[in-house]
């Protein structure tokens, strides 16, 4: 069945002009529920976020349905421990992925498509990449399903991994690795 052009999911770079769109989901408590950041209350916070964080970021994309910006997806190379550093260490083989989607677009497979496309782009663009990982809150089964449907493997639960809004959270770790994608035999570790 052909997908209507209005429903086609694409990824593109952000621009300052996307401020209002970003504000629409970044101000929504349902969307930011499992994120560190509190919901934005002023459009200017969204504008500053695009200028200070999104535009300089190594890989940050707007999720579009047709021509409408409905969410964002980003991939940070290198271990999370490197924090704000933009240069990954030479011994790093991994990157971490995160995404958010406006509430009105949930439940239609859009995030799943965006995650698949982002993962393909990352493995195509970065020859050093062996592992793309993502964590989902233990109480966010919808996000866990997105990652599973996008072909990520659930590896386990990391207990009290983050503190979100004052509460320690268990996070479920998922990954997509180069050996999955090449269909190479994976070593067994007797697990």
């Amino acid at each position: 069945m052909e997908r209507e052009p209005e429903m086609e999911v694409t990824l593109r770079e952000f621009a300052e002009a996307d401020t209002e769109a970003l504000f629409s989901w970044a101000s929504d408590p349902r969307v930011v529920r499992f994120q560190r950041r509190e919901a934005y209350s002023r459009v200017d916070e969204a504008r500053r976020y695009i200028l200070d964080h999104v535009l300089p970021h190594p890989w940050y994309r707007a999720i579009c349905v047709g021509s409408v910006v409905v969410g964002s997806i980003s991939i940070k190379p290198g271990p999370a421990e490197e924090g704000g550093s933009r240069r990954r260490s030479p011994s790093s083989t991994r990157a971490s992925l995160g995404y958010r989607l406006a509430h009105g677009y949930w439940g239609r497979g859009i995030a799943t498509r965006a995650v698949r496309m982002a993962a393909e782009a990352a493995f195509a663009e970065w020859p050093w990449l062996a592992r793309l990982e993502a964590v989902a809150d233990g109480e966010n089964p919808a996000s866990q399903r997105v990652l599973e449907k996008a072909g990520f493997v659930r590896e386990g639960v990391l207990r009290r991994y983050l503190v979100l809004k004052g509460r320690p959270r268990d996070m479920v770790m998922f990954s997509s690795v180069d050996t999955d994608r090449r269909n190479k035999p994976v070593e067994a570790h007797g697990l």
């Binding site: 011994s91 592992r131 590896e155 991994y161 503190v163 570790h189």
Partner: protein, 183 residues
Amino acid sequence: MEQGKGEGAQPAKTAVEVTLRPFTLADVDAMMAWASDPVPYESTEPLLAFIKDTVLPHPWFRAICLSGSGDGDGRPVGALSVSPTADACRAELGYVLARAHWGKGVATAAVRRALGAVFEEVEGLERVEALVDARNAASQRVLEKAGFTREALLRRYCVLKGDVKDMVIYSFVSTDPLPPAAA
């Protein structure tokens, strides 16, 4: 420590105690014992630099020492560190022990002591995690005996010695019961 049985049995030896203390530059010679295994260092210079640049400024880096008759004068036999991560609630444990002291429960005792201390001292700490090469069964046992929970196999996680490795992640969290500190 086993007491000798039968005639002329020796009095029980004082149990060897594992303790943790900060490093000093004077520990460089002791450090050579584990740092030089398997690839020997030719001089102490790089280790002195390591102590000055990494160990001394580190928030939680400790020498593993043995005290008790016959097992040394408190010289370090290994090192243990608990390092901050991008999140204040989570720290990463690492340790190394000179080969001569493997298989005696020293690393397990050191890790147990470290857990007790670090949850007491570090504000906001909820989780201590450790990453172990999936093929390093001995190190995995150390963590299990110290009370860590094995959580996941992280595939293709990082490069060690030139190869991309799968690592197992273990954790000990603030709500886990602290093991007794005694070895």
